[in-house]
């Protein structure tokens, strides 16, 4: 598409993307009909196809926008940190808060990752995130702060911890009050686990942190 849009048009498009994202997140790609989306918005069916080439196209736009937004949040979060380990901590916390604030997009991304059709797109975004983290991990290793392991696998593991805790705490717990606290708890658990793992290290005490 990439039609030239008037301000009113741009607003319409945004509203469509948002409505669609929520529906897709709640019901999945296939069970969400274009009719349902436009009905939610109270507009005619043609509107949808004025702004998007297809249902598939709309879904992809949402994914791309979501990933751009998440990455921006991560970038902003680590801008002020210079210590490699703290940068990673900040990235984890920022991710967790973004996932909390945009729970429906989180669900959407998880969903899209398991769909052959959209997996490449999501994968691209994740590889980007991994790539963003690599320099800091490498720097940490070089500085003797982080364990000498395959940096790529470390990055993947960090993402895995973050996602799993986000899923457990944010998606499966519902949206009741106190969910902000939950996000905070999930962030701290992720940071803690990623830093020190499971084991008590003899001689290391329980010093809050060393980085």
């Amino acid at each position: 598409m990439s039609r030239r849009l008037t301000p009113r048009g741009a607003e319409r498009r945004r509203a469509l993307l948002d409505t669609a994202a929520r529906r897709f997140a709640a019901d999945g790609y296939h069970p969400t009909s274009v009719a349902a989306i436009v009905d939610d918005l109270g507009v005619g069916k043609g509107v949808f196809y004025w702004y998007f080439d297809s249902k598939d196209d709309c879904y992809r736009q949402i994914l791309v926008d979501a990933q751009r937004s998440l990455r921006a949040a991560q970038r902003d979060a680590i801008a002020d940190e210079h210590d490699p380990a703290r940068r990673i901590d900040a990235g984890i916390r920022a991710s967790m808060h973004w996932l909390h604030d945009n729970r429906h997009l989180f669900a959407l991304l998880e969903q899209a990752r398991t769909d052959e059709r959209f997996a490449p797109l999501v994968r691209r975004g994740e590889q980007q995130t991994v790539a963003d983290a690599l320099p800091h991990i490498r720097a940490g290793i070089a500085a003797g702060l982080l364990r000498r392991e395959d940096p790529e696998l470390l990055a993947v593991a960090i993402l895995g911890v973050t996602d799993a805790l986000a899923r457990a705490v944010l998606l499966e717990a519902g949206d009741g009050p106190g969910s902000d606290d939950a996000a905070e708890r999930a962030a701290e658990a992720a940071v803690s686990f990623c830093r020190r793992g499971l084991l008590v290290v003899p001689g290391a005490g329980t010093a809050r942190d060393t980085a």
Copy 2:
């Protein structure tokens, strides 16, 4: 259903489940038509509805069977270990190998978890796994081997690391030769990360492990 089946019938049912599982894993629930499944097997459509109440029912059977199988593999793996930390290691390694040997079921589970319809079923299985791990984690903490954190969150984090590395190494890498090695590497990375996390712990040297 749970019809009484002749031996030949039981075989048919198994073949259907297997064919369906592969199709579902490859294409997703909605894009896989019942027609495609029975065509793959070269039988009529009636057969499918003889053994299953519906497409939905078939999908659920696959999920339940897969989870039962994974859990059995985990149980077998830790049967011989008595040290809590080693039990966890063994569970991680067993999971990784099962996920490798049953890649299509792994994909299927990941997929089902993001589908509102089947998520409760998958969640039930995961909570079971978490519950299975809890006593060992609690024992480890009590014995002063594991860090004193919320055991449930620790369990979730372990699963997250395992899944993320499995996904990165098993699903996204393709099935070429040497994928066994890949599984092995993924298992070791998961174990290592879960034990010690990212940080170099001063005073702990690089001792292989302490557990």
Copy 3:
């Protein structure tokens, strides 16, 4: 498609082709909806797609069948003639009668020829007819019976006369009684025009014909 069909299935398919052909001929390809075709036959919409891949596929089958039938009629008609000129006459007469007996298919072919989508298919059939006629025209020229002109252009001209008269007499006149006579008259006019053209040939008298 080319599905294996039971006798009942084959009959269904034939009924669909016939119903569709009449609708297509009357209303054109685009204005004829699949819904209209199946409604005419009183069956469900799915039936259509059980027998055909698409509306387009169905249309093509009709065209191919029609052309096969017309060509067979032409072949049968000239089988008994050995004189080249008489063979051409017989072909013209047979064509005219087929076009009369299958007026709806005639209309369909004329229509398809003007549709970029189907023109190649129709063209192929016409070129076949031209190719069928060429040997007889060449033989006639070699025997000194026919004028020495480009045989291909002669064949095209013959088809043109036949079609134009068929259209004028068969399609545009309606189907009232006496339309058999009309076909006969059209056939004679076509034969006569193709043999001798417009001009009175001095010295040739008005001898009925010479071939």
Copy 4:
């Protein structure tokens, strides 16, 4: 419509008719969307509906204009001829050249003739052409120059030959260089066939012509 148009408006209208005619000719009536036409011209959709009542109306205007133009070409061509047979020759040649110069309109007319919706309009034009030719044919017969046959059928046959050869040579051959020659050859073949038909007339030699 028949709105009073400013000069600029008249130009716009002409441009629309021309763009539309080419699109309609290339793709057919139904597959050509109003959107495609106005996009080709780089104007908004409103423009189209300012100049035409509907897509149908636009198509008809094109047909009427085309037929008016063809008829004018024929009229001009025979204005200088007084011999009936030569008049017919001239008409055939003029038609062939017009069809060549306006190939897209030729295709359009052929197409419209097979569409129930527009056939009456096209038929009206053809009957006009037949009517135009009739007096000359009658005069030729009366003068003993043309064979004594139903003049109307003769006229139809002449049109049929012209159209068939035009189609074979102009439309199906593509627009490469040398297509002017092709038109010339087609015209000569049509004239020749219409004059003398297929048969060698004994005693008539191969005299270039007799009319």
